[in-house]
Homo-oligomer: 466 residues x 2
């Protein structure tokens, strides 16, 4: 548990161990097939650094490093890996090693490893582990995906209401001493005071236990204003509560209000990263982070979104097709037409980004929705007028036709206002009907700004210029 | 410190207090100008909930609520507010109240409030607070923005190497008892063992102190493999270390390696949110989250990005202008031309999103860069061929011209490959030259996919069709 050698590097070098050239040296040792050097480089690394290293290597090198680590594989490595890479690692180390890992890990980490296995492997692992561990994992799997029940650790430290600080400390020391050490979680930050029905009545941060004299009753120092998370709480809501209240751990309760586990901040940080990743990927039109996926899987995953875009792009083109007679009369329209659509798309994306983020952070609510939409429409008016002036002058100068400048200016104003309205309204409506606003907003938005951009510009041209 | 009334609501209702209609009731009470009801609604709220409420109200209502809270204003509210809203709140409560707040808060929170004030107010506040607090804040302000020095708390609990667990616990109890209570941080999760030069030699999680018998020397249970953060470490790197190592707190050291403070996870979660927000906003072409900004400020902030887009859109249009003779001969080209550009833009955005995210998470490194670029080019080839077939058939059927189908198909393949290459190469190059890849990537990308899309499609048409 405690390292016997002190790391003597200067502090500056310690921020990212992996940056410091180790990655490069490992690749070199792999290329030279120098097993001795490889072992010297990798064995002293922290499990989190080994996980990072495995992620960055190519498949073949990764296999070699796993073979090297196989004999005493640190199960914590598995919990730090990206899913795609973890699958590969598990395939390589084999189910027997996973069985050993699952028994060593805390219940939340073990569940995280098992839940990602495919059905077959899951059954093999469950069949091979002791009944106690098996029950705990099966119970965890019974909760909905991405719920508090999946995130929580079953090991929690509870204290009855009639104890004092001294009794609490003695109890923790005894539990740590005895052979049933695994009853205590590896790390914990709060104690939970429970009533006889095992319902939480308060939490005590460890620092408050340490500040208090032995004779002080736990009920005197417990925090009663606490957030209890029902097992079915969505992980996004869990993250919201932790962030809002600056929590490091929180009690999880079942339908009867009884304490069944606790969620700690390290798992919540992973959730926050996951949710952010989801938002950013969906806005970018990618189903999931596919950095480590094979080329064909990536091609397939991205095809769907591009297909939708093809359909909407064809739709926008049919709008252009309506005005083919107009375009034949003046080719300048074809030259200028993408500018109006592009500006609308960009202005709309700006608004959309702010709205989607605000929805995710629960900052955009029914109370302020009308105000936000109104504001974005006004921003559209202001920027629309500014850019109408700019592009109007450019178009006039370019094609020597002032009327063309007026047409493109008017089209610009209309499309910018539409962009502001659509950029706020689309995600709000999607959220209302229960669709993740990040996933479908941009395709709707650019369809609208393209169609409106082409239609208004070419329509006004047909009306005014001929 | 301890609440005397138990919250008796069912657990399901406790996840978001504010969702439960309080926000709506507050707006109603404000409209009815019912001060009594308003006080009843707001006073029992947690400071984090009050902050959320203030953010969601409009400026006028916000002012009313602040006036209500003025008499006993909880300074913690300030630390939870968005910057724009905090400015308004500070203007309303006045500098005197800020002075009081700064003295009550932990050093990291006090610094956070002061650093956002404008120079004048900052000086007023610094002049009004006691010299000790003032020194601590001025020292904090001397560190670079967004550095570990700005994030850290100066209050840390340190233990000499020759103490045992019993001495440590007694020391903490005495510090809490004595009149100098503010020497201990309000909350702490780790103790730092320091040598006589005040250099950290190990950390001890509080749970490990509680597990151990009184006679155990601290050096026996301390964790020596720890990450020490130099004061100048960028907050993004701080977040990386916390995330990678699942830390709840970490020691901050000066150039001489001496302990000067500690960073706790709650501040790191804020950093993680901030960095994510920055990434998502920059990718969406917004300088910063401007949900709470005034309309004119928002218009101004978004203008710059749109102006760049106008210039690049005009650039793309000049490419179209090169082919005006070709377009005059066949108006179908004008109709189909946006499809090629749009598909390239979307495919490029997919790749770009994955690459920017991978760079931010330090998953994309020199070791795997060539592999990732190669893969994305291949994905471009595969999806390019698939969509070339689809759009080729559509164009043929639409305009009854098979050669037109061939032209648009070839242009599609070229633009999809270019999109894959540009989507990975642009952020890598920007990162290499020290520019945040999120900020400038999309404008470069869409310029390239538009220009290439128009040029290749119209160029091939000119070559093949006439």
């Amino acid at each position: 548990m405690v390292d016997t050698e002190k790391d003597t590097a200067a502090p500056e070098d310690q921020v990212h161990d992996l940056e410091a050239g180790i990655e490069h040296d490992v690749v070199e040792a792999l290329a030279a097939d120098d097993q001795g050097r490889l072992a010297d480089l990798i064995r002293p690394l922290h499990h989190a650094d080994i996980a990072d290293l495995l992620e960055r290597l190519n498949t073949e090198d990764r296999g070699q490093v796993i073979d090297l680590l196989r004999d005493d594989f640190d199960p914590e490595i598995l919990t730090e890996l990206d899913e795609t890479v973890r699958d590969q690692v598990i395939d390589r180390i084999g189910v027997a090693e996973v069985v050993a890992a699952v028994q060593e890990l805390d219940s939340d980490d073990a569940l995280e490893v098992v839940e990602e296995l495919d059905k077959d492997e899951q059954q093999q692992v469950l069949d091979a582990i002791p009944i106690g561990d098996r029950r705990r994992i099966e119970e965890g799997l019974s909760y909905p995906e991405d719920s508090a029940g999946r995130l929580m650790q079953r090991e929690v430290v509870t204290v009855p209401t009639f104890w004092n600080v001294g009794q609490t400390i003695d109890y923790i020391r005894e539990s740590a001493d005895s052979s049933v050490e695994n009853e205590l979680p590896t790390q914990f930050y709060d104690l939970f005071v429970v009533d006889p029905l095992h319902k939480p009545v308060g939490t005590i941060p460890l620092s408050r236990i340490l500040r208090s004299a032995r004779h002080v009753p736990v009920t005197d120092i417990m925090e009663m204003e606490m957030k209890m998370l029902p097992v079915n709480t969505d992980q996004e809501d869990v993250a919201f509560v932790f962030r809002q209240r600056d929590l490091v751990s929180a009690p999880v309760v079942d339908d009867g209000g009884r304490l069944v586990g606790a969620i700690t901040i390290d798992d919540v940080v992973d959730v926050i990263d996951e949710e952010h990743e989801e938002d950013i990927m969906l806005l970018g039109g990618v189903k999931e982070d596919d950095l480590y996926n094979a080329t064909l899987d990536t091609t397939r995953a991205r095809f769907g979104w591009l297909l939708i875009n093809l359909v909407t792009a064809i739709l926008a083109s049919t709008v252009i097709g309506l005005f083919d007679a107009t375009l034949e009369q003046m080719v300048a329209l074809a030259v200028l037409m993408p500018i109006v659509a592009s500006m609308g798309g960009n202005a709309g994306t700006q608004t959309l980004t702010v709205a989607v983020r605000a929805l995710a952070m629960k900052e955009l609510t029914p109370t302020n929705a009308a105000r936000v939409i109104g504001k974005e429409a006004l921003v559209g008016v202001f920027n629309g007028v500014l850019f109408a002036g700019l592009i109007g002058v450019v178009a006039w100068a370019w094609f020597g036709n002032p009327a063309l400048g007026v047409v493109i200016g008017l089209a610009m104003i209309v499309n910018m206002i539409v962009a502001g309205l659509a950029g706020t309204t689309i995600p709000l409506v999607l959220e209302r009907v229960g669709i993740d606003p990040a996933v479908a907003s941009s395709v709707f938005l650019t369809t609208i700004t393209d169609v409106v951009g082409f239609f208004v510009f070419l329509g006004l041209a047909a009306l005014i210029l001929f």
